[in-house]
Amino acid sequence: MKQKVRIAAGQGFWGDLLDAPVRQVEGGPIDYLMLDYLAEVTMSIMQKQKARDPNAGYAKDFVPLMRRILPTCVERDIKVTANAGGVNVRGCANAVIEVARELGLGGNKLRIGMVTGDDIMSRLDELLSRGIELRNMDTGEPLSTVRDKIQSANAYLGAWPMVEALNRGAQIVITGRATDTGLTLAPLIHEFGWANNDWNRLSAGTIAGHIIECGAQASGGNCQYEWRSIPNLGDVGFPIVEASPDGTFVITKHERTGGWIIIPGIKEQLVYEMGDPHEYITPDCVADFTTIHLEYEGRDRVRVFGIEGRPATEFLKVSISYSAGFKAVGTLVYAWPDAYEKAQAADRILRRRLDRLGLQFDHVLTEFVGVNATHGRLAGPPDADIPEVQLRVGVRGQDRSAVERFTKEIAPLILTGPPAVTGFAGGRPKVEEIVAYWPALIPKEEITPAVEVLEA
Protein backbone atom coordinates (compact mmCIF):
# COMPACT_ATOMS: atom_id res chain seq x y z
CA MET A 1 0.00 0.00 0.00
CA LYS A 2 1.15 3.52 -0.78
CA GLN A 3 1.93 5.61 2.29
CA LYS A 4 1.19 8.90 0.53
CA VAL A 5 -1.37 9.64 -2.15
CA ARG A 6 -1.40 13.01 -3.90
CA ILE A 7 -4.65 14.26 -5.36
CA ALA A 8 -4.56 17.47 -7.34
CA ALA A 9 -7.54 19.73 -8.06
CA GLY A 10 -7.68 20.84 -11.67
CA GLN A 11 -10.97 22.77 -11.90
CA GLY A 12 -12.97 24.79 -9.38
CA PHE A 13 -15.96 24.94 -11.72
CA TRP A 14 -16.74 24.44 -15.41
CA GLY A 15 -15.11 27.53 -16.85
CA ASP A 16 -12.09 27.68 -14.58
CA LEU A 17 -8.52 28.30 -15.86
CA LEU A 18 -8.06 25.95 -18.81
CA ASP A 19 -4.36 25.38 -18.16
CA ALA A 20 -4.70 24.59 -14.45
CA PRO A 21 -5.10 20.80 -14.88
CA VAL A 22 -2.20 20.69 -17.33
CA ARG A 23 0.00 22.49 -14.84
CA GLN A 24 -1.07 20.14 -12.07
CA VAL A 25 -0.03 17.14 -14.19
CA GLU A 26 3.24 18.61 -15.42
CA GLY A 27 4.32 20.78 -12.49
CA GLY A 28 5.34 18.10 -9.99
CA PRO A 29 4.47 14.70 -8.61
CA ILE A 30 0.78 13.77 -8.33
CA ASP A 31 -1.10 10.46 -8.32
CA TYR A 32 -4.59 11.68 -9.18
CA LEU A 33 -6.16 14.62 -10.92
CA MET A 34 -9.73 15.44 -9.88
CA LEU A 35 -11.94 17.60 -12.05
CA ASP A 36 -15.32 18.98 -10.99
CA TYR A 37 -17.41 20.15 -13.94
CA LEU A 38 -20.97 20.20 -12.67
CA ALA A 39 -22.63 23.20 -11.09
CA GLU A 40 -26.21 22.86 -9.93
CA VAL A 41 -27.87 23.81 -13.22
CA THR A 42 -25.21 22.47 -15.58
CA MET A 43 -27.15 19.23 -16.05
CA SER A 44 -30.10 21.02 -17.63
CA ILE A 45 -27.84 22.75 -20.18
CA MET A 46 -26.36 19.37 -21.04
CA GLN A 47 -29.82 17.79 -21.27
CA LYS A 48 -30.77 20.41 -23.88
CA GLN A 49 -27.55 19.83 -25.82
CA LYS A 50 -28.25 16.10 -25.86
CA ALA A 51 -31.81 16.65 -27.11
CA ARG A 52 -30.35 18.47 -30.12
CA ASP A 53 -27.44 16.07 -30.65
CA PRO A 54 -27.47 12.55 -29.14
CA ASN A 55 -23.63 12.61 -29.04
CA ALA A 56 -23.56 15.76 -26.88
CA GLY A 57 -24.57 16.37 -23.26
CA TYR A 58 -21.22 16.23 -21.46
CA ALA A 59 -18.44 18.69 -20.57
CA LYS A 60 -16.92 19.28 -24.00
CA ASP A 61 -13.75 20.87 -22.59
CA PHE A 62 -12.80 17.59 -20.99
CA VAL A 63 -11.94 15.92 -24.32
CA PRO A 64 -9.33 18.43 -25.61
CA LEU A 65 -7.91 18.51 -22.07
CA MET A 66 -7.48 14.72 -22.18
CA ARG A 67 -5.74 15.08 -25.54
CA ARG A 68 -3.20 17.38 -23.87
CA ILE A 69 -2.55 15.37 -20.73
CA LEU A 70 -3.26 11.70 -21.53
CA PRO A 71 0.27 10.83 -22.72
CA THR A 72 1.78 12.26 -19.50
CA CYS A 73 -0.90 10.65 -17.33
CA VAL A 74 -0.21 7.22 -18.85
CA GLU A 75 3.56 7.68 -18.67
CA ARG A 76 3.52 8.73 -15.00
CA ASP A 77 0.54 6.60 -13.97
CA ILE A 78 -1.61 9.58 -13.01
CA LYS A 79 -5.28 8.69 -12.73
CA VAL A 80 -8.20 11.04 -13.33
CA THR A 81 -11.59 11.32 -11.62
CA ALA A 82 -14.04 13.67 -13.33
CA ASN A 83 -17.79 14.26 -13.30
CA ALA A 84 -17.44 15.41 -16.90
CA GLY A 85 -19.98 12.89 -18.21
CA GLY A 86 -22.99 15.11 -17.49
CA VAL A 87 -26.07 13.44 -18.96
CA ASN A 88 -24.08 11.42 -21.51
CA VAL A 89 -21.31 9.54 -19.72
CA ARG A 90 -21.00 7.02 -22.55
CA GLY A 91 -20.67 9.76 -25.17
CA CYS A 92 -17.93 11.38 -23.10
CA ALA A 93 -16.11 8.06 -22.58
CA ASN A 94 -16.31 7.28 -26.31
CA ALA A 95 -14.88 10.68 -27.19
CA VAL A 96 -11.96 10.09 -24.78
CA ILE A 97 -11.40 6.61 -26.25
CA GLU A 98 -11.23 8.11 -29.73
CA VAL A 99 -8.62 10.63 -28.55
CA ALA A 100 -6.63 7.89 -26.79
CA ARG A 101 -6.50 5.82 -29.99
CA GLU A 102 -5.34 8.83 -31.99
CA LEU A 103 -2.54 9.26 -29.45
CA GLY A 104 -1.51 5.62 -29.79
CA LEU A 105 -2.92 4.75 -26.37
CA GLY A 106 -5.59 2.34 -27.58
CA GLY A 107 -6.26 -1.20 -26.39
CA ASN A 108 -5.07 -2.24 -22.96
CA LYS A 109 -2.81 0.80 -22.53
CA LEU A 110 -5.75 2.75 -21.13
CA ARG A 111 -8.88 1.78 -19.24
CA ILE A 112 -11.81 4.14 -18.90
CA GLY A 113 -14.33 3.71 -16.10
CA MET A 114 -17.90 4.88 -16.53
CA VAL A 115 -20.27 5.49 -13.63
CA THR A 116 -23.96 5.82 -14.51
CA GLY A 117 -27.28 5.29 -12.79
CA ASP A 118 -27.64 8.84 -11.50
CA ASP A 119 -30.15 9.90 -14.17
CA ILE A 120 -33.73 9.42 -12.93
CA MET A 121 -35.42 11.67 -15.50
CA SER A 122 -37.23 8.77 -17.21
CA ARG A 123 -38.29 7.27 -13.86
CA LEU A 124 -39.93 10.36 -12.35
CA ASP A 125 -43.55 9.42 -12.97
CA GLU A 126 -42.98 5.90 -11.71
CA LEU A 127 -41.29 7.26 -8.56
CA LEU A 128 -44.07 9.80 -7.95
CA SER A 129 -46.74 7.13 -8.49
CA ARG A 130 -45.15 5.06 -5.72
CA GLY A 131 -45.40 7.98 -3.33
CA ILE A 132 -41.81 9.19 -3.54
CA GLU A 133 -42.72 12.84 -3.60
CA LEU A 134 -39.31 14.42 -4.15
CA ARG A 135 -40.40 17.46 -2.14
CA ASN A 136 -38.26 20.58 -2.44
CA MET A 137 -35.83 20.46 0.50
CA ASP A 138 -35.97 24.23 0.89
CA THR A 139 -39.68 24.98 0.43
CA GLY A 140 -41.34 21.64 1.19
CA GLU A 141 -43.42 21.78 -2.01
CA PRO A 142 -44.14 18.46 -3.78
CA LEU A 143 -42.54 17.94 -7.20
CA SER A 144 -45.94 17.66 -8.84
CA THR A 145 -46.18 21.49 -8.76
CA VAL A 146 -43.45 21.72 -11.43
CA ARG A 147 -43.74 18.24 -12.99
CA ASP A 148 -44.41 19.44 -16.56
CA LYS A 149 -41.48 21.88 -16.46
CA ILE A 150 -38.72 19.49 -15.44
CA GLN A 151 -35.63 19.42 -17.65
CA SER A 152 -33.29 17.07 -15.80
CA ALA A 153 -33.26 14.94 -12.65
CA ASN A 154 -30.15 13.29 -11.22
CA ALA A 155 -29.21 11.72 -7.94
CA TYR A 156 -25.84 12.68 -6.48
CA LEU A 157 -23.75 9.51 -6.40
CA GLY A 158 -20.94 9.25 -3.88
CA ALA A 159 -17.46 7.76 -3.94
CA TRP A 160 -18.20 4.03 -3.98
CA PRO A 161 -19.10 3.50 -7.66
CA MET A 162 -15.88 5.37 -8.55
CA VAL A 163 -13.96 3.13 -6.13
CA GLU A 164 -15.30 0.09 -7.97
CA ALA A 165 -14.14 1.53 -11.30
CA LEU A 166 -10.66 2.18 -9.87
CA ASN A 167 -10.53 -1.29 -8.29
CA ARG A 168 -11.28 -2.75 -11.71
CA GLY A 169 -8.28 -0.96 -13.21
CA ALA A 170 -9.80 2.23 -14.59
CA GLN A 171 -7.27 5.03 -15.07
CA ILE A 172 -9.81 7.62 -16.15
CA VAL A 173 -13.10 7.57 -14.22
CA ILE A 174 -15.94 9.52 -15.80
CA THR A 175 -19.19 10.06 -13.92
CA GLY A 176 -22.43 11.93 -14.40
CA ARG A 177 -23.83 13.65 -11.33
CA ALA A 178 -21.40 12.66 -8.60
CA THR A 179 -20.50 14.70 -5.54
CA ASP A 180 -17.45 16.94 -5.81
CA THR A 181 -16.10 15.45 -2.60
CA GLY A 182 -16.45 11.87 -3.91
CA LEU A 183 -13.98 12.67 -6.69
CA THR A 184 -11.28 13.06 -4.01
CA LEU A 185 -12.55 10.47 -1.53
CA ALA A 186 -12.77 7.62 -4.07
CA PRO A 187 -9.03 7.47 -4.83
CA LEU A 188 -8.26 7.44 -1.09
CA ILE A 189 -10.64 4.53 -0.43
CA HIS A 190 -9.18 2.69 -3.43
CA GLU A 191 -5.55 3.24 -2.42
CA PHE A 192 -5.85 2.77 1.34
CA GLY A 193 -8.60 0.18 1.43
CA TRP A 194 -10.76 2.15 3.85
CA ALA A 195 -13.88 0.29 5.00
CA ASN A 196 -17.37 1.51 4.17
CA ASN A 197 -18.10 2.08 7.87
CA ASP A 198 -14.80 3.77 8.72
CA TRP A 199 -16.69 7.02 9.24
CA ASN A 200 -13.77 9.06 10.58
CA ARG A 201 -11.53 8.32 7.60
CA LEU A 202 -14.37 8.66 5.10
CA SER A 203 -15.12 12.05 6.67
CA ALA A 204 -11.45 13.03 6.45
CA GLY A 205 -11.38 12.19 2.74
CA THR A 206 -14.64 14.09 2.27
CA ILE A 207 -13.25 17.20 3.96
CA ALA A 208 -10.06 16.91 1.90
CA GLY A 209 -12.35 16.97 -1.14
CA HIS A 210 -14.26 19.99 0.18
CA ILE A 211 -11.02 21.92 0.65
CA ILE A 212 -9.76 21.41 -2.91
CA GLU A 213 -13.03 21.23 -4.88
CA CYS A 214 -13.09 24.99 -5.50
CA GLY A 215 -9.60 24.97 -6.96
CA ALA A 216 -7.46 28.00 -6.18
CA GLN A 217 -9.99 29.25 -3.61
CA ALA A 218 -7.86 27.16 -1.22
CA SER A 219 -4.51 28.44 -2.47
CA GLY A 220 -4.84 32.21 -2.42
CA GLY A 221 -7.71 32.99 -4.79
CA ASN A 222 -10.57 35.03 -3.31
CA CYS A 223 -8.64 35.08 -0.04
CA GLN A 224 -9.49 38.02 2.23
CA TYR A 225 -6.75 37.39 4.75
CA GLU A 226 -3.84 39.76 3.97
CA TRP A 227 -4.91 39.76 0.33
CA ARG A 228 -2.33 42.32 -0.74
CA SER A 229 0.49 40.02 0.39
CA ILE A 230 -0.54 36.94 -1.60
CA PRO A 231 2.38 36.13 -3.93
CA ASN A 232 1.99 35.97 -7.69
CA LEU A 233 -1.67 35.09 -8.21
CA GLY A 234 -0.98 35.49 -11.92
CA ASP A 235 0.75 32.14 -11.71
CA VAL A 236 -1.43 30.61 -9.01
CA GLY A 237 -0.84 26.96 -8.11
CA PHE A 238 -3.97 24.89 -7.55
CA PRO A 239 -4.24 22.90 -4.30
CA ILE A 240 -3.06 19.33 -3.79
CA VAL A 241 -4.10 16.89 -1.05
CA GLU A 242 -1.28 14.69 0.20
CA ALA A 243 -3.07 12.00 2.20
CA SER A 244 -1.91 9.24 4.54
CA PRO A 245 -3.60 5.90 5.27
CA ASP A 246 -4.64 7.09 8.76
CA GLY A 247 -6.85 9.80 7.27
CA THR A 248 -4.64 12.78 8.04
CA PHE A 249 -3.59 14.89 5.11
CA VAL A 250 -1.58 17.91 4.08
CA ILE A 251 -2.85 20.64 1.75
CA THR A 252 -0.06 21.91 -0.46
CA LYS A 253 0.67 23.01 -4.05
CA HIS A 254 3.44 22.54 -6.55
CA GLU A 255 6.72 24.35 -5.94
CA ARG A 256 7.47 27.48 -7.96
CA THR A 257 3.80 28.39 -8.34
CA GLY A 258 1.99 31.49 -7.08
CA GLY A 259 -0.63 31.87 -4.38
CA TRP A 260 -0.22 30.44 -0.91
CA ILE A 261 -1.33 27.63 1.38
CA ILE A 262 -1.90 29.20 4.81
CA ILE A 263 -4.14 28.31 7.73
CA PRO A 264 -6.38 31.40 7.45
CA GLY A 265 -6.87 30.62 3.75
CA ILE A 266 -7.80 27.00 4.45
CA LYS A 267 -10.22 28.19 7.13
CA GLU A 268 -11.89 30.49 4.60
CA GLN A 269 -12.40 27.58 2.22
CA LEU A 270 -13.63 25.29 5.01
CA VAL A 271 -16.48 27.66 5.87
CA TYR A 272 -17.40 28.26 2.22
CA GLU A 273 -20.99 27.22 1.49
CA MET A 274 -21.19 25.63 4.92
CA GLY A 275 -24.49 24.74 6.57
CA ASP A 276 -24.57 23.14 10.01
CA PRO A 277 -20.88 22.36 10.61
CA HIS A 278 -21.75 19.34 12.77
CA GLU A 279 -23.32 17.59 9.84
CA TYR A 280 -21.85 17.96 6.39
CA ILE A 281 -23.96 15.32 4.67
CA THR A 282 -22.71 13.38 1.65
CA PRO A 283 -23.74 9.99 0.26
CA ASP A 284 -20.64 8.49 1.92
CA CYS A 285 -20.75 9.83 5.50
CA VAL A 286 -21.73 12.74 7.74
CA ALA A 287 -18.59 14.76 8.39
CA ASP A 288 -18.19 16.93 11.48
CA PHE A 289 -16.38 20.19 10.70
CA THR A 290 -16.08 21.01 14.41
CA THR A 291 -13.44 18.25 14.71
CA ILE A 292 -11.04 19.63 12.11
CA HIS A 293 -7.59 20.67 13.33
CA LEU A 294 -5.00 22.56 11.33
CA GLU A 295 -1.26 23.09 11.82
CA TYR A 296 1.68 24.19 9.69
CA GLU A 297 4.03 21.56 8.39
CA GLY A 298 6.30 23.89 6.47
CA ARG A 299 5.95 26.59 3.86
CA ASP A 300 2.79 26.16 1.79
CA ARG A 301 1.94 23.03 3.75
CA VAL A 302 -1.02 22.83 6.15
CA ARG A 303 -1.66 19.56 7.96
CA VAL A 304 -5.29 18.61 8.63
CA PHE A 305 -6.06 16.06 11.36
CA GLY A 306 -8.45 14.94 14.08
CA ILE A 307 -11.46 14.63 11.78
CA GLU A 308 -14.44 12.64 12.98
CA GLY A 309 -17.64 11.65 11.27
CA ARG A 310 -20.80 9.61 11.57
CA PRO A 311 -22.71 7.06 9.48
CA ALA A 312 -24.14 8.14 6.17
CA THR A 313 -27.88 8.80 5.95
CA GLU A 314 -30.39 6.56 4.16
CA PHE A 315 -30.97 9.14 1.44
CA LEU A 316 -29.30 10.58 -1.62
CA LYS A 317 -29.76 14.17 -2.68
CA VAL A 318 -31.44 14.66 -6.04
CA SER A 319 -30.79 17.63 -8.26
CA ILE A 320 -33.77 18.49 -10.42
CA SER A 321 -33.86 21.38 -12.84
CA TYR A 322 -37.04 22.95 -14.14
CA SER A 323 -38.04 25.79 -16.38
CA ALA A 324 -39.09 28.73 -14.19
CA GLY A 325 -39.90 31.58 -16.57
CA PHE A 326 -37.77 34.30 -18.10
CA LYS A 327 -35.57 37.17 -17.01
CA ALA A 328 -33.58 40.07 -18.42
CA VAL A 329 -31.29 42.69 -16.93
CA GLY A 330 -30.65 46.11 -18.47
CA THR A 331 -28.00 48.66 -17.49
CA LEU A 332 -27.14 52.29 -18.23
CA VAL A 333 -24.41 54.51 -16.78
CA TYR A 334 -25.07 58.05 -15.49
CA ALA A 335 -22.16 60.50 -15.07
CA TRP A 336 -21.36 63.40 -12.73
CA PRO A 337 -22.89 65.73 -11.68
CA ASP A 338 -25.78 64.28 -9.68
CA ALA A 339 -25.09 60.82 -11.09
CA TYR A 340 -27.07 58.93 -8.42
CA GLU A 341 -30.02 61.32 -8.58
CA LYS A 342 -30.15 60.96 -12.36
CA ALA A 343 -30.01 57.17 -12.19
CA GLN A 344 -32.85 57.18 -9.64
CA ALA A 345 -34.90 59.48 -11.87
CA ALA A 346 -34.30 57.19 -14.86
CA ASP A 347 -35.51 54.21 -12.80
CA ARG A 348 -38.75 56.03 -11.93
CA ILE A 349 -39.33 56.95 -15.58
CA LEU A 350 -38.68 53.39 -16.71
CA ARG A 351 -41.07 51.93 -14.13
CA ARG A 352 -43.80 54.41 -15.13
CA ARG A 353 -43.45 53.28 -18.73
CA LEU A 354 -43.54 49.58 -17.78
CA ASP A 355 -46.72 50.27 -15.79
CA ARG A 356 -48.34 52.13 -18.67
CA LEU A 357 -47.56 49.19 -20.97
CA GLY A 358 -49.37 46.99 -18.47
CA LEU A 359 -46.44 44.59 -18.19
CA GLN A 360 -46.70 42.08 -15.36
CA PHE A 361 -43.62 40.63 -13.71
CA ASP A 362 -43.07 38.35 -10.71
CA HIS A 363 -40.18 40.54 -9.64
CA VAL A 364 -38.56 43.82 -10.65
CA LEU A 365 -35.25 44.74 -9.01
CA THR A 366 -33.37 48.02 -9.30
CA GLU A 367 -29.78 48.29 -8.15
CA PHE A 368 -27.40 51.24 -8.40
CA VAL A 369 -23.93 49.86 -9.07
CA GLY A 370 -21.43 52.08 -7.29
CA VAL A 371 -23.96 52.82 -4.55
CA ASN A 372 -25.78 49.76 -3.22
CA ALA A 373 -25.49 46.71 -5.51
CA THR A 374 -23.43 44.60 -3.13
CA HIS A 375 -23.97 45.89 0.41
CA GLY A 376 -27.36 47.53 0.06
CA ARG A 377 -28.15 50.16 2.68
CA LEU A 378 -25.13 49.07 4.74
CA ALA A 379 -22.97 51.01 2.30
CA GLY A 380 -24.56 54.28 3.45
CA PRO A 381 -25.38 57.24 1.19
CA PRO A 382 -22.95 57.79 -1.69
CA ASP A 383 -20.60 60.75 -1.94
CA ALA A 384 -22.52 63.70 -3.43
CA ASP A 385 -19.71 64.02 -5.95
CA ILE A 386 -19.78 60.37 -7.05
CA PRO A 387 -18.30 60.25 -10.59
CA GLU A 388 -20.76 57.77 -12.08
CA VAL A 389 -23.51 55.32 -11.17
CA GLN A 390 -24.72 52.35 -13.14
CA LEU A 391 -28.48 51.86 -13.16
CA ARG A 392 -29.20 48.12 -13.27
CA VAL A 393 -32.80 46.95 -13.62
CA GLY A 394 -33.81 43.29 -13.78
CA VAL A 395 -37.22 41.74 -14.38
CA ARG A 396 -38.45 38.18 -14.01
CA GLY A 397 -41.74 36.66 -15.08
CA GLN A 398 -43.59 33.78 -16.70
CA ASP A 399 -44.52 35.68 -19.85
CA ARG A 400 -41.64 35.78 -22.30
CA SER A 401 -43.19 38.57 -24.36
CA ALA A 402 -43.40 40.87 -21.33
CA VAL A 403 -39.72 40.31 -20.56
CA GLU A 404 -38.93 40.85 -24.25
CA ARG A 405 -40.85 44.14 -24.22
CA PHE A 406 -38.90 45.29 -21.14
CA THR A 407 -35.61 44.83 -23.03
CA LYS A 408 -36.81 47.39 -25.60
CA GLU A 409 -37.44 50.07 -22.97
CA ILE A 410 -33.82 50.53 -21.83
CA ALA A 411 -32.14 52.17 -24.82
CA PRO A 412 -34.92 54.77 -25.32
CA LEU A 413 -34.00 56.20 -21.90
CA ILE A 414 -30.87 57.64 -23.50
CA LEU A 415 -32.86 60.10 -25.63
CA THR A 416 -35.94 60.34 -23.43
CA GLY A 417 -34.57 60.43 -19.87
CA PRO A 418 -32.07 62.28 -17.65
CA PRO A 419 -28.82 63.59 -19.22
CA ALA A 420 -25.16 62.50 -19.11
CA VAL A 421 -26.05 58.87 -19.81
CA THR A 422 -24.02 56.27 -21.66
CA GLY A 423 -23.01 52.62 -21.56
CA PHE A 424 -25.31 51.00 -24.05
CA ALA A 425 -22.72 49.53 -26.44
CA GLY A 426 -23.90 45.97 -25.89
CA GLY A 427 -27.32 46.50 -27.52
CA ARG A 428 -30.62 45.32 -26.07
CA PRO A 429 -30.45 43.04 -23.04
CA LYS A 430 -30.97 39.35 -23.81
CA VAL A 431 -33.99 37.44 -22.58
CA GLU A 432 -32.84 34.39 -20.65
CA GLU A 433 -34.89 31.32 -19.91
CA ILE A 434 -34.60 30.60 -16.18
CA VAL A 435 -33.69 27.05 -15.33
CA ALA A 436 -34.15 26.73 -11.61
CA TYR A 437 -32.85 24.17 -9.17
CA TRP A 438 -35.04 21.85 -7.13
CA PRO A 439 -33.15 19.96 -4.41
CA ALA A 440 -34.84 16.82 -3.07
CA LEU A 441 -34.07 13.56 -1.28
CA ILE A 442 -34.56 9.99 -2.48
CA PRO A 443 -34.15 6.75 -0.50
CA LYS A 444 -30.78 5.20 -1.35
CA GLU A 445 -32.29 1.85 -2.32
CA GLU A 446 -34.06 3.52 -5.27
CA ILE A 447 -30.75 4.27 -6.97
CA THR A 448 -28.52 1.56 -8.44
CA PRO A 449 -25.24 2.92 -9.76
CA ALA A 450 -23.72 1.04 -12.71
CA VAL A 451 -19.99 0.76 -13.35
CA GLU A 452 -18.38 -0.24 -16.64
CA VAL A 453 -14.69 -0.35 -17.44
CA LEU A 454 -13.75 -0.12 -21.12
CA GLU A 455 -10.42 -0.59 -22.89
CA ALA A 456 -9.55 2.30 -25.16
Binding site: V271, L294, G376
Partner: protein, 113 residues
Amino acid sequence: MRVRLTELAHARSGDKGDTANVGLIALQDEFYPILVREVTAERVKQHFTGIVHGEVERFELPNLGALNFLLHESLGGGGTLSLMTDAQGKTFSTALLRMEIDVTDQEAADLHG
Protein backbone atom coordinates in the same frame (compact mmCIF):
# COMPACT_ATOMS: atom_id res chain seq x y z
CA MET B 1 -15.25 51.06 22.87
CA ARG B 2 -16.69 50.25 19.45
CA VAL B 3 -14.63 48.58 16.74
CA ARG B 4 -15.43 47.29 13.31
CA LEU B 5 -15.38 43.52 12.77
CA THR B 6 -12.70 43.97 10.08
CA GLU B 7 -10.27 44.57 12.93
CA LEU B 8 -11.00 41.18 14.50
CA ALA B 9 -12.05 38.85 11.73
CA HIS B 10 -11.97 37.82 8.10
CA ALA B 11 -14.76 36.01 6.31
CA ARG B 12 -15.95 34.09 3.26
CA SER B 13 -19.52 33.76 2.07
CA GLY B 14 -21.44 31.61 -0.36
CA ASP B 15 -24.94 30.42 -1.22
CA LYS B 16 -27.26 27.49 -0.98
CA GLY B 17 -30.50 28.32 -2.74
CA ASP B 18 -31.98 31.49 -1.24
CA THR B 19 -29.76 31.21 1.85
CA ALA B 20 -26.39 32.93 2.10
CA ASN B 21 -23.78 31.64 4.51
CA VAL B 22 -21.06 33.76 6.07
CA GLY B 23 -18.14 32.12 7.80
CA LEU B 24 -16.61 34.64 10.19
CA ILE B 25 -13.06 33.76 11.27
CA ALA B 26 -11.12 35.36 14.12
CA LEU B 27 -7.86 36.93 12.95
CA GLN B 28 -6.26 35.71 16.18
CA ASP B 29 -7.39 32.93 18.51
CA GLU B 30 -7.93 35.34 21.40
CA PHE B 31 -10.51 37.30 19.40
CA TYR B 32 -12.79 34.27 19.04
CA PRO B 33 -14.49 34.64 22.46
CA ILE B 34 -15.23 38.28 21.59
CA LEU B 35 -16.92 37.18 18.37
CA VAL B 36 -18.94 34.55 20.27
CA ARG B 37 -20.05 37.15 22.81
CA GLU B 38 -20.84 40.05 20.47
CA VAL B 39 -21.76 38.65 17.07
CA THR B 40 -24.98 36.90 18.03
CA ALA B 41 -27.56 35.68 15.53
CA GLU B 42 -29.84 38.46 16.76
CA ARG B 43 -27.22 41.19 16.17
CA VAL B 44 -26.49 39.84 12.70
CA LYS B 45 -30.20 39.77 11.86
CA GLN B 46 -30.43 43.39 12.99
CA HIS B 47 -27.31 44.35 11.00
CA PHE B 48 -28.85 42.92 7.82
CA THR B 49 -32.31 44.50 8.32
CA GLY B 50 -33.95 44.98 4.93
CA ILE B 51 -31.40 42.66 3.28
CA VAL B 52 -31.99 39.34 5.03
CA HIS B 53 -35.73 38.64 5.12
CA GLY B 54 -35.68 35.29 6.92
CA GLU B 55 -34.12 33.92 10.08
CA VAL B 56 -30.43 34.03 10.98
CA GLU B 57 -28.85 30.87 12.40
CA ARG B 58 -25.45 30.77 14.07
CA PHE B 59 -23.10 27.80 14.53
CA GLU B 60 -19.86 27.75 16.52
CA LEU B 61 -16.58 26.22 15.35
CA PRO B 62 -14.18 26.80 18.27
CA ASN B 63 -11.65 24.49 16.58
CA LEU B 64 -11.30 26.98 13.73
CA GLY B 65 -11.99 30.12 15.76
CA ALA B 66 -14.94 30.66 13.47
CA LEU B 67 -18.69 31.26 13.50
CA ASN B 68 -20.95 30.22 10.64
CA PHE B 69 -24.09 32.21 9.92
CA LEU B 70 -26.97 31.13 7.71
CA LEU B 71 -28.91 34.09 6.38
CA HIS B 72 -32.23 32.78 5.11
CA GLU B 73 -34.25 34.49 2.37
CA SER B 74 -31.49 36.85 1.41
CA LEU B 75 -30.69 36.20 -2.24
CA GLY B 76 -33.80 37.29 -4.14
CA GLY B 77 -34.94 33.70 -4.70
CA GLY B 78 -31.41 32.37 -5.10
CA GLY B 79 -29.52 30.70 -7.92
CA THR B 80 -30.79 31.45 -11.40
CA LEU B 81 -34.06 32.95 -10.09
CA SER B 82 -32.28 35.89 -8.47
CA LEU B 83 -31.98 39.22 -10.27
CA MET B 84 -29.31 40.47 -7.87
CA THR B 85 -25.78 41.40 -8.92
CA ASP B 86 -24.61 39.23 -6.05
CA ALA B 87 -26.99 36.31 -6.56
CA GLN B 88 -24.45 33.96 -4.97
CA GLY B 89 -23.99 36.02 -1.82
CA LYS B 90 -20.24 36.34 -2.37
CA THR B 91 -20.06 39.82 -0.84
CA PHE B 92 -22.13 39.14 2.28
CA SER B 93 -18.78 38.34 3.90
CA THR B 94 -17.51 41.90 3.77
CA ALA B 95 -21.01 43.26 4.42
CA LEU B 96 -20.90 41.50 7.79
CA LEU B 97 -17.40 42.87 8.46
CA ARG B 98 -18.92 46.37 8.40
CA MET B 99 -20.65 45.59 11.69
CA GLU B 100 -19.46 47.46 14.80
CA ILE B 101 -19.18 45.66 18.13
CA ASP B 102 -18.37 46.64 21.72
CA VAL B 103 -15.05 45.61 23.22
CA THR B 104 -13.65 46.31 26.69
CA ASP B 105 -10.78 48.72 27.19
CA GLN B 106 -8.47 45.78 27.83
CA GLU B 107 -9.60 44.06 24.62
CA ALA B 108 -9.17 47.31 22.72
CA ALA B 109 -5.63 47.61 24.10
CA ASP B 110 -4.85 44.02 22.98
CA LEU B 111 -6.37 44.75 19.60
CA HIS B 112 -4.36 47.87 18.97
CA GLY B 113 -1.22 46.78 20.83
